[in-house]
């Protein structure tokens, strides 16, 4: 069983495609996710980074069907799952790992039941105890027999997260969604869990979308990074480019406060924290944007565009795309 690999990707090779996805709360007054498009290829690890409240968790919850879409579509393996009810067979191909493994495990279910639950829901063929034990040991809980009859409160945080990973991987998903998978864990365990997730990418061809606010984590495991601000992706591209040569002022500000990153002048963002119910006009980052605040945008003559014209992701270099007037204008000027 554990020799399986993700097969059947969609015709264009993408495991998941988001097209203009919008998720609303409070009857449309709040757009937690506002027109996001993103595609993830087979065996690709994408990190979604951004500050708290930027909509990154809502975005992956919408992929797994926990948040209904207001607009846009989501396709998994070429089949649409968005809307109010997804196809159950496709549900199986997308699995999620939660930030808080303690809360995600029912305290009244043994480890065996927690892992077997998904197998039963999807009526997976095979000898259930064997499948469960195999999943547990593949997630590093060996010997699996020692864990089967235990309850969540008897395990450590790292072990609980391994149980959740085992339960997710037991269903042989094509896409693994990870919501801050190591945020609640000890620093010493984080590396092990990340390595475990990475090993599934290599051995089974699973794709991962990992939500994190930890840029170091993104740097370590991600092939691509997407930076979200106020419900929208403002910069996306290969990890080395986005984190090595950030274009968007927001990404630069995020990176400048990471102690390990040398060479960037530290930039503490000022202004009020963004409120998704009152999205600023123009570029939604302009009230806090250092380029606008320093007057540089006005000096170079595009300050009005920043304040007045909303914009989409523009191709920068290759796969690297940025939504910033300053970047777009300097690129045109450079040609």
């Amino acid at each position: 069983m554990w020799g399986w690999r993700v097969s059947d990707p969609s015709p264009n090779g993408n495991v998941v495609e988001l097209t203009n996805v919008q998720v609303q709360f409070n009857g449309g007054r709040v757009r937690a996710v506002d027109t996001v498009s993103l595609e993830v290829g087979r065996s690709e690890v994408v990190a979604l980074v951004g500050e708290s409240g930027c909509g990154k968790t809502t975005l992956i919850r919408s992929i797994i069907g926990l948040e209904p879409l207001a607009h846009g579509s989501i396709t998994v393996l070429g089949q649409e799952v968005g809307g109010r009810r997804g196809l159950r067979s496709l549900r199986r191909r997308v699995q999620m790992i939660f930030q808080d493994p303690t809360g995600a495990l029912n305290p009244r279910h043994s480890i065996y039941e927690a892992v077997a639950e998904g197998l039963r829901i999807h009526k997976v063929k095979g000898h259930e105890p064997t499948l469960v034990a195999g999943a547990l040991s593949s997630a590093g809980l060996r010997p699996a027999e020692r864990y089967l009859r235990r309850f969540p409160h008897e395990l450590s945080g790292g072990q609980r997260q391994r149980v959740l990973i085992a339960a997710a991987m037991a269903l042989q998903p094509a896409l693994l969604l990870a919501d801050e998978p190591v945020a609640s864990l000890d620093a010493s365990i984080r590396g092990e869990i990340l390595a475990l997730m990475r090993s599934f990418v290599d051995s089974h061809g699973v794709s991962i979308i990992a939500v994190t606010h930890d840029l170091g984590l993104a740097w370590n495991i991600a092939d691509r990074v997407a930076v979200m601000y106020l419900g929208r992706i403002v910069e996306v591209g290969p990890t080395e480019e986005v984190l090595g040569a950030p274009k968007h002022p927001y990404t630069r500000a995020l990176l400048s406060v990471v102690p390990e990153v040398a060479g960037l002048e530290q930039q503490i963002l000022t202004g009020e924290t963004p409120d998704p119910s009152r999205v600023p006009s123009g570029c939604r980052f302009h009230p806090r944007c250092p380029v606008v605040a320093s007057g540089e945008a006005d000096r170079l003559g595009f300050g009005d565009r920043c304040r007045g014209v909303d914009l989409e992701l523009e191709p920068e270099v290759g796969d690297h795309r940025v939504a910033c007037h300053a970047v777009a204008i300097s690129a045109t000027a450079g040609q």
């Binding site: 069907g65 029912n106 305290p107």
Partner: protein, 268 residues
């Protein structure tokens, strides 16, 4: 453990009473020669009342009625309460609103006047008492269970089950109900003594089934014969102590049951 033994003892006593004693012993024709208001001694273990009836016999027969009413009214209360509370809490929206307005309506009906009116209007039988208690006490358990369902419904493991592709039945059966069970048990163990006490109250007020002997009815008789002022302690003390013991045993048993069912409280 002691509470369980005590409860089982009472239940067994209640069940075997018809085989080891004769109801006819209460008939006036058979009690005519008995001494009245006789203090406890070798012949009459708990003495006799003003009609010469054995208090010990009345206590045994009364246990049948009190326990039956206690259990039956509790089952009725909990079944209605769980159905309404679970449905309202899980589905929310307009279903919740409608069910809760009905619950509120029943909740604001004052208990004792309603019980007295119903007991007076309906046929005098044990089933009437069971129904009266059930009708008046389900709303509070429905509210209690609904609030717990509202809390459990938002737990992360319910989200995980939904993400796994679980249907509503699965989520309710495997996640919500098991985590509401301690509360159901707690409110059941509280409902049993309340039902027994309510039956006592109604019987004491003379609204019980006049053809049955119950602990509450015994207290009523004791009060009517001025047992306290006459110093006939053997008449009111046994039913009072029995009620207290059963109520206490149920409360302790409920706590113990919760410990057994919750893996986190289980001792290893």
């Amino acid at each position: 453990m002691a509470s369980l033994v005590l409860l089982i003892g009472f239940v067994i006593l209640a069940i075997i009473t018809p085989w080891i004693t004769d109801r006819a012993d209460f008939n006036a024709i058979n009690t005519g020669d008995n001494p009245t208001n006789h203090p406890p001694d070798g012949d009459y273990l708990l003495g006799t009342d003003r009609y010469g009836r054995s208090v010990a016999l009345q206590l045994m027969w009364g246990a049948r009625v009190s326990l039956f009413v206690g259990f039956a009214a509790t089952v009725l209360t909990i079944v209605i309460g769980v159905l309404i509370g679970l449905t309202a809490g899980f589905f929310g929206g307009w279903i919740d609103s409608v069910l809760m307005r009905i619950t509120d309506w029943f909740l604001v009906i004052p208990f004792l006047p309603t019980a007295i009116v119903l007991a007076a209007v309906l046929e005098r039988s044990l089933w009437t008492i069971v129904m009266v208690i059930g009708i008046t006490s389900w709303p509070s358990s429905a509210r209690l269970i609904r609030s717990q369902v509202l809390s459990v419904r938002e737990r992360l493991y319910v989200d995980r089950a939904r993400a796994l592709g679980a249907g509503r039945l699965h989520i309710v059966g495997r996640h919500i109900l098991p985590n509401v069970t301690p509360l159901i048990l707690a409110s059941a163990t509280l409902a049993v003594p309340i039902s027994i006490l309510t039956e006592t109250t109604l019987s004491f007020l003379g609204l019980g089934d006049p053809t049955e002997i119950s602990w509450g009815g015994m207290l009523d008789q004791a009060q009517q014969s001025s047992a306290v002022t006459s110093g006939h302690w053997w008449y009111y003390l046994p039913p009072g102590v029995a009620i207290m013991l059963v109520v206490l045993a149920f409360t302790i048993f409920g706590r113990a049951l919760e410990e057994v069912l919750d893996p986190r409280l289980r001792k290893r």
